[in-house]
């Protein structure tokens, strides 16, 4: 009788791991700096939302270096980052932690690793479709579209707030397009075809 090896699926051979690691690192600005991580935890300590993360920023770097990319892509961490850059400015090794998290977020979006109606994804999509349509953001439209797809019940709750903002001139009922919205669309179309920076 064979003893099932429970550890096996988790294990990766070192050469596999390194190849995958270097492949991933190329996609991240100054990504090679993560080799210098000393696991001091300053990033986690500086992060205002790390208390809500399943994998802290320090652990993210450790897991990434160890080739466990999938674990990171399935975590809450990348979606919780508010882009405040506290980790980045305090990192004694100069690692661009925020940009690393952005890159991982883009990777997860690419691979569509998130639940359906996922708030971050829905919001991003609603936002960029506004820019494509009008060249600028349209706050009321963004709010309505976002809530319709994520929490329709909240739409009623938010109506009072919306009305208040409209009467104070701090929200517009109709969108306002820029004159040369065709220029913005041409730029977006072209940039979407090109490689990544």
């Amino acid at each position: 009788m064979k003893t099932p090896n429970l550890l096996e699926p988790k294990l990766k051979r070192e050469d596999e791991l390194h190849a995958a690691f270097w492949e991933q690192i190329k996609a991240i600005p100054r990504g090679e700096l993560i080799q210098n991580c000393i696991q001091c935890g300053t990033c986690t300590g500086s992060c205002p939302v790390s208390y809500m993360m399943d994998i802290t920023p320090r652990q993210t770097v450790a897991l990434f270096r160890a080739g466990h990319l999938e674990d990171i892509l399935h975590s809450r961490t990348i979606w919780l980052c508010a882009s405040c850059y506290s980790c980045r400015v305090r990192c004694p090794s100069g690692i661009l932690v925020t940009d690393l998290l952005y890159a991982l977020k883009r990777l997860a979006m690419d691979k569509k690793i998130y639940p359906e109606k996922f708030p971050v994804y829905v919001l991003s999509q609603a936002f960029i479709s506004n820019i494509y349509k009008y060249g600028r953001n349209y706050e009321l439209g963004l709010g309505i579209r976002y809530l319709l797809r994520t929490e329709p019940m909240k739409l009623l709750k938010s109506a009072g707030f919306g009305m208040k903002m409209i009467t104070k001139g701090r929200m517009s009922i109709t969108p306002k397009a820029i004159k040369k919205v065709s220029e913005v669309r041409a730029i977006i179309d072209k940039a979407s075809q090109l490689g990544e920076v």
């Binding site: 205002p48 939302v49 809500m52 979606w79 919780l80 508010a82 882009s83 405040c84 850059y85 506290s86 980045r88 400015v89 661009l96 925020t98 952005y102 977020k105 883009r106 979006m109 708030p119 971050v120 919001l123 991003s124 936002f127 960029i128 506004n130 820019i131 060249g135 600028r136 953001n137 706050e139 976002y146 707030f161 208040k164 903002m165 104070k168 001139g169 701090r170 929200m171 517009s172 306002k176 820029i178 004159k179 040369k180 919205v181 065709s182 220029e183 913005v184 041409a186 730029i187 977006i188 179309d189 072209k190 940039a191 979407s192 090109l194 490689g195 990544e196 920076v197």
Partner: protein, 294 residues
């Protein structure tokens, strides 16, 4: 003295009081502000999360439009400020990025090669115009109003520009010159959560509760911001925070430019004071005694 004005989408509506007060303050001080014609959204953090190149190229259209105006850009929204500066950094540091951004711009018959400096109005007012100059122009002085200057994230991070990363002083010094009592509190650069208020409300409510609490505990009467998203998060969610955490927050959240405008003698309505959701109570503003003519 003139600047190319990039208001950004927020300042058109939710951040209207910021736009009004920046324009009034610049006009009163005689600093030129020419709006970049037909500017578009900077792309905010949204494109950065999807495809960075698209974000940078969209943002670069504004820089390309501004490059022939012959002056620095004035960008009051912290997010626009950071994104536009980030685009400049990509252009300057990485020839590959520069080529790709310009290739995308070419689709709209644009190109960007002269680097335009992107500045925050706080930096312009304090470092170009000068605090002494401002002090000589004020008509009113605050007397006894305690203000917590809140810098948030993106005007001090990620790259050092015009003020300290951990303990910035620009707003503090400006307020001091207006007679305001500046509250010393540890959270002046702590994050408000930004877009998390939409995507992970629980987390953002907690962050804002902490910010308000910290400013109150240290004696602030009002809190001053330099960013439309911070202002919105801190101001419009107070009742929700009060319900959830059983608190009594009722803190007016003003833009630094509104306080400056008041001291310069601009009518409150022209600064959008009446459009704030938490009404400021007595702002303790006193006219300066007339100087005796010799």
């Amino acid at each position: 003295m003139e600047y190319a004005y990039y208001p950004g989408c927020s300042l058109e509506y939710t951040g209207k009081p910021y736009d009004l007060s920046i324009r009034e303050v610049f006009k009163t001080l005689g600093i030129g502000l020419r709006e970049i014609e037909d500017w578009n959204c900077c792309g905010a953090t949204m494109y950065m999360s999807i495809k960075q190149l698209v974000g940078l190229a969209v943002s670069a259209r504004n820089l390309a439009l501004a490059q022939n105006m012959g002056c620095d850009i004035c960008a009051p929204c912290s997010s626009c400020y950071t994104i536009l500066r980030k685009t400049n950094r990509h252009m300057a540091w990485n020839p590959h990025s520069r080529d790709l951004i310009n290739e995308a711009l070419k689709a709209a018959n644009l190109s960007y090669d002269k680097m335009v400096e992107v500045r925050h109005p706080l930096d312009i007012l304090v470092n170009d115009y000068g605090i002494d100059q401002i002090a000589s122009r004020i008509q009113y002085r605050f007397d006894g109003l305690k203000v917590a200057p809140y810098y948030g994230c993106q005007i001090v991070r990620p790259v050092y520009h015009f003020d300290d990363l951990d303990d910035p002083q620009t707003m503090d010094r400006l307020f001091d010159a207006l007679g305001l009592e500046v509250t010393d509190y540890p959270n002046k650069v702590r994050c408000c959560g930004g877009m998390l208020m939409t995507t992970f409300e629980d987390v953002a409510l907690h962050l804002n509760d902490e910010l308000l609490r910290c400013a109150e505990d240290n004696g602030a009467d009002v809190l001053a911001t330099a960013c439309p998203l911070c202002q919105m998060n801190l101001e419009s969610y107070q009742s929700q925070i009060n319900k959830r955490y059983n608190t009594q927050h009722n803190m007016p959240i003003l833009y630094f430019s509104q306080l400056l405008g008041l001291a310069l003698g601009v009518e409150p309505a022209k600064l959008g004071i009446d459009t704030l959701l938490v009404k400021p109570r007595d702002l303790k503003l006193k006219p300066l005694s007339l100087k005796v003519a010799v």
